[in-house]
C-alpha cells in the first residue's frame, strides 16, 4: 500500500475537500473556518477552492449555528459543523442531542439528519478547566448519534470521510495536540475507514490496552515499556465509540485475559466504565484480573504545569495499571 506522510490537520482538510468535491451538498461552517483558514488551520485553502457559499464563517453563536445546520441537514444537505473546541459545543448541545440525534426516531424513520459535528476534544496544553474536557462519554451515551475519536492522520482522514458520507449525525472528537503530528496515510483516493470498527495497533498476548484519540499514542508508549519487561501488550485503537467495536475488545480479552482501558475523560460513567462493564458481563470467565481503568483525575483541569500533568493519564500510569492486572 502506497502511503504519504501527513499531519492530522492536513488529513482532516483533505477528507473534507475530497468529500466536498464529490458532493455539492456538503459544506463547512463554523467559527474562523473560512478567512482565517480554521482556528487550528484544519481548513487551509478550502475557502479558495470552494468559495464562501460552501465554506462559511459563522459569528460566535454555537447554539444558533448548530441548530441552523441541523435544519439544513433535515432537508438533505450535509453540513460539516466545526466547533472551535468541543467545550464551546455545550452552547449548542441541545441541537446535537434533541434535534439531530432524536429526530429520526421521533419521525418514525422518515426524516434523518446527515450532519457532522467536529472539532478538538479533551485537554490541549495549559488552557485550564473550561477548555480542557473530554466529551467522549457524553456523546457516546446518546442513541441516534455516532461518535468517532481518531488518533492518527489515517484515522482522521478515513473516519471523517465516513462520517461525512454517513446518513446519521456523527460526532468527530479530534485532539488539538495531535493536529501537528505526522503519520503515514494511505495515498489511495478512495481511502475510507468504517465507523464502528476498532483497530489493533499492536498485537500482544499478555494484556489488552484499549484507548482512543491521544491515549492511543500513550498506550503504544506504555506497550514499548512493558515489552522491555517481557509483558506483551495488545493495543486496541477504538476509533469508534458509538457504535463500539465490542467484538474486537472481547476477542482480545479472551486471548489476553486482562484489560486496561485508558482515557483522558473523568472516571465516573466514562468510556472505561462502559468497557469494564462490557468485559465483566460478556467475558467474565476469561478474566484473570479485574479490569483496570486509567482516566483523567476526577477534578476540573488545573492550570499549573505540574498539576495538569498529574491530572492527565500518562504512559507510566498505563504501565502501572498493566503490571497490576498482570500481577508483575
Amino acid at each position: 500500500m502506497t502511503t504519504q506522510t501527513q499531519t492530522v490537520r492536513e488529513a482532516i482538510r483533505d477528507a473534507m475537500a475530497l468529500e466536498m468535491r464529490a458532493n455539492q451538498d456538503v459544506f463547512l461552517m463554523g467559527e474562523e473556518v473560512a478567512e482565517y483558514q480554521g482556528a487550528y488551520k484544519c481548513s487551509q485553502g478550502m475557502l479558495a477552492e470552494f468559495g464562501e457559499k460552501r465554506v462559511i464563517d459563522t459569528p460566535i453563536t454555537e447554539h444558533g449555528f448548530a441548530g441552523l445546520a441541523v435544519g439544513a441537514a433535515f432537508t438533505g444537505l450535509r453540513p460539516i459543523v466545526e466547533f472551535m473546541t468541543w467545550n464551546f459545543a455545550m452552547q449548542g448541545i441541545d441541537h446535537i442531542i434533541n434535534s439531530a440525534a432524536k429526530t429520526l426516531y421521533m419521525a418514525g424513520g422518515q426524516l434523518g439528519c446527515p450532519i457532522v459535528f467536529r472539532g478538538p476534544n479533551g485537554a490541549a496544553s495549559r488552557v485550564g478547566a473550561q477548555h480542557s474536557q473530554c466529551y467522549a462519554s457524553w456523546y457516546a451515551h446518546v442513541p441516534g448519534l455516532k461518535v468517532v475519536s481518531p488518533w492518527s492522520a489515517a484515522d482522521a482522514k478515513g473516519l471523517l470521510r465516513a462520517a461525512i458520507r454517513d446518513p446519521n449525525p456523527v460526532v468527530v472528537l479530534e485532539n488539538e495536540l495531535l493536529y501537528g503530528q505526522a503519520f503515514e496515510v494511505p495515498a489511495n483516493e478512495d481511502f475510507v475507514l468504517p465507523i464502528g470498527r476498532a483497530h489493533v495497533e499492536r498485537a500482544g498476548a499478555d494484556v489488552t490496552i484499549c484507548a482512543h484519540s491521544i491515549m492511543v499514542g500513550k498506550a503504544l508508549e506504555a506497550a514499548d515499556a512493558l515489552a522491555a519487561d517481557g509483558v506483551g501488550a495488545e493495543v486496541i485503537n477504538l476509533r469508534s465509540l458509538r457504535p463500539l467495536d465490542t467484538e474486537a475488545i472481547l476477542a482480545s480479552v479472551r486471548k489476553t485475559n486482562r484489560i486496561v482501558i485508558a482515557e483522558e475523560g473523568w472516571p465516573f460513567a466514562g468510556i472505561g466504565a462502559a468497557i469494564s462493564a462490557l468485559v465483566t458481563e460478556q467475558a467474565f470467565d476469561h478474566l484473570d484480573a479485574p479490569p483496570a481503568r486509567v482516566t483523567g483525575a476526577d477534578v476540573p483541569m488545573p492550570y499549573a504545569a505540574n498539576l495538569e500533568r498529574l491530572a492527565l493519564p500518562q504512559a507510566a500510569d498505563i504501565v502501572r495499571a498493566a503490571r497490576g492486572v498482570c500481577y508483575v
Binding site: F27, K53, T58, P59, T61, H63, G64, F65, A66, G67, L68, A69, V70, G71, A72, A73, F74, T75, G76, L77, D94, H95, N98, S99, T103, L104, Y105, M106, A107, G108, G109, Q110, L111, G112, P143, G144, K146, P167, N168
Partner: protein
C-alpha cells in the same frame, strides 16, 4: 371588545381589498377543520386515549390559516410543540396526525413521536419540536437550505412569545440578516408563555426585536384571518424580494390552557370569555362572508363535511394498532 389596535409597525402594512368569497371559504374551512380536530383531540385526551402533553390551538386558528394561505408551494414550515394546526395546514392527513396522538402504528411518526414530534418531508413540514426556541434555529437552517439550493422557497419559522426570549432566537436573527436568508419568523403571541403573561416576561415589543439587525417587523391582529393573510403576503413578498428575514408578530389568544393539564388560573374567566364571544376568528370571518353574500347553507355543508373527516380520523386513530414491539428498536440510526 375592540379589534386589536395595530401598533406603529416597523414597516407599514398596506390595506388590501377583501379576497374573493371562495378564498375566504377556504380559510374558513381550514380554521374550522383545525378547531374541530383540536376539540376532538381534547375529548380523546379526556377519555385517556391520548397521553402526555397535548397543546391545543383553539383560538389561534387564524394565525396558521392566514399565514399558510399566503405561502408558495416550495416554502417550508417548522414550529414548536403546539403543532397540530400547522400540520393540518400543510395538508397532512388528519387521520395520521390523530393516530400519532393516540400512539398508533399508523401515526405520522408510527407512534414514536407523539403530539410534539411529527414531521412530513412530503408536505415540507419539518416539525414539531418540543424544545422552546429550537424551531427558530431549525427554521433558519431551512432558509439556509433554500438559499443554498436557490429553489426560491421561504422558510416559515413559527415561535411563541415565550420562545422569542430564547438566546438562540437573537443568534438566528443575526445570522439570517447577515446572510440574507429567506425566512419569515412568525411570533404567535398568545399573551402567555405557559402561565407567564407577556407583561411579566417580555421587555419591549417582540416585532421590533429585529430592528438592531436591520430586520423589518410588523404586528398584526391574529384574531382576524384576513389581516393575517394580508400581512403574511406582504411579509413573504418582502422576504422573497429582498432575500432577507422578516418578523411578523401575530397577536392571538388560546382559549384552552397551555396544555391539557393546565387549568389556566393565571388569567380571568372574563378575559377568556371576551375573546371567545367577541373576537372569535371563525365567527368573525363567517360574519364577513355572510355580509359579502355567502349562503348559510354553505357553512352547514362544510360543518357536515368536517364533522365526518374528524369522526373518521378519530375512528382511524382508535382502531389502529399500537406499534409492534420490535418498533422499539427501529429508526434509531439509518442503516441498522
Amino acid at each position: 371588545m375592540p379589534k386589536e389596535k395595530p401598533k406603529n409597525n416597523v414597516v407599514a402594512l398596506r390595506k388590501v381589498p377583501l379576497p374573493a368569497l371562495e378564498d375566504m371559504a377556504a380559510l374558513w374551512r381550514l380554521m374550522l377543520l383545525i378547531r374541530r380536530f383540536e376539540e376532538k383531540a381534547g375529548h380523546l385526551y379526556g377519555m385517556g386515549n391520548i397521553g402526555g402533553f397535548c397543546h391545543l390551538y383553539i383560538g389561534q386558528e387564524a394565525v396558521v390559516a392566514g399565514i399558510s394561505s399566503a405561502q408558495a408551494p416550495q416554502d417550508t414550515v417548522v414550529t414548536s410543540y403546539r403543532d397540530h394546526a400547522h400540520m393540518l395546514a400543510c395538508g397532512m392527513p388528519p387521520g395520521e396526525i390523530m393516530a400519532e396522538l393516540t400512539g398508533r402504528a399508523t401515526g405520522s411518526s408510527r407512534g414514536k413521536g407523539g403530539s410534539m414530534h411529527m414531521f412530513s418531508r412530503d408536505h415540507r413540514f419539518y416539525g414539531g419540536h418540543g424544545i422552546v426556541g429550537a424551531s427558530t434555529s431549525i427554521g433558519t437552517g431551512l432558509a439556509f437550505a433554500h438559499k443554498y439550493r436557490g429553489d426560491g422557497g421561504v422558510a416559515v419559522a413559527y415561535m411563541g412569545d415565550g420562545a422569542a426570549n430564547q438566546g438562540q432566537v437573537a443568534e438566528c436573527y443575526n445570522m439570517a440578516a447577515l446572510w440574507g436568508l429567506p425566512v419569515l419568523y412568525v411570533i404567535e403571541n398568545n399573551k402567555y408563555a405557559m402561565g407567564t403573561s407577556v407583561n411579566r416576561g417580555v421587555a419591549g415589543e417582540l416585532y421590533k426585536r429585529g430592528e438592531g439587525y436591520g430586520i423589518p417587523g410588523a404586528q398584526v391582529d391574529g384574531m382576524d384571518v384576513l389581516d393575517v393573510r394580508a400581512a403574511a403576503a406582504q411579509a413573504l413578498a418582502h422576504v422573497r424580494g429582498a432575500g432577507g428575514p422578516f418578523i411578523l408578530e401575530v397577536m392571538t389568544y388560546r382559549y384552552r390552557g397551555h396544555s391539557m393539564s393546565d387549568p389556566a388560573q393565571y388569567r380571568s374567566k372574563e378575559e377568556v370569555k371576551t375573546y371567545r364571544t367577541e373576537r372569535d376568528p371563525i365567527a368573525a370571518l363567517k360574519a364577513r362572508m355572510l355580509a359579502a353574500g355567502a349562503e348559510e347553507e354553505a357553512f352547514k355543508a362544510v360543518e357536515r363535511e368536517i364533522k365526518e373527516i374528524i369522526a373518521a380520523a378519530a375512528q382511524f386513530a382508535l382502531d389502529s394498532p399500537e406499534p409492534e414491539e420490535g418498533e422499539l428498536w427501529t429508526d434509531v440510526v439509518v442503516g441498522e
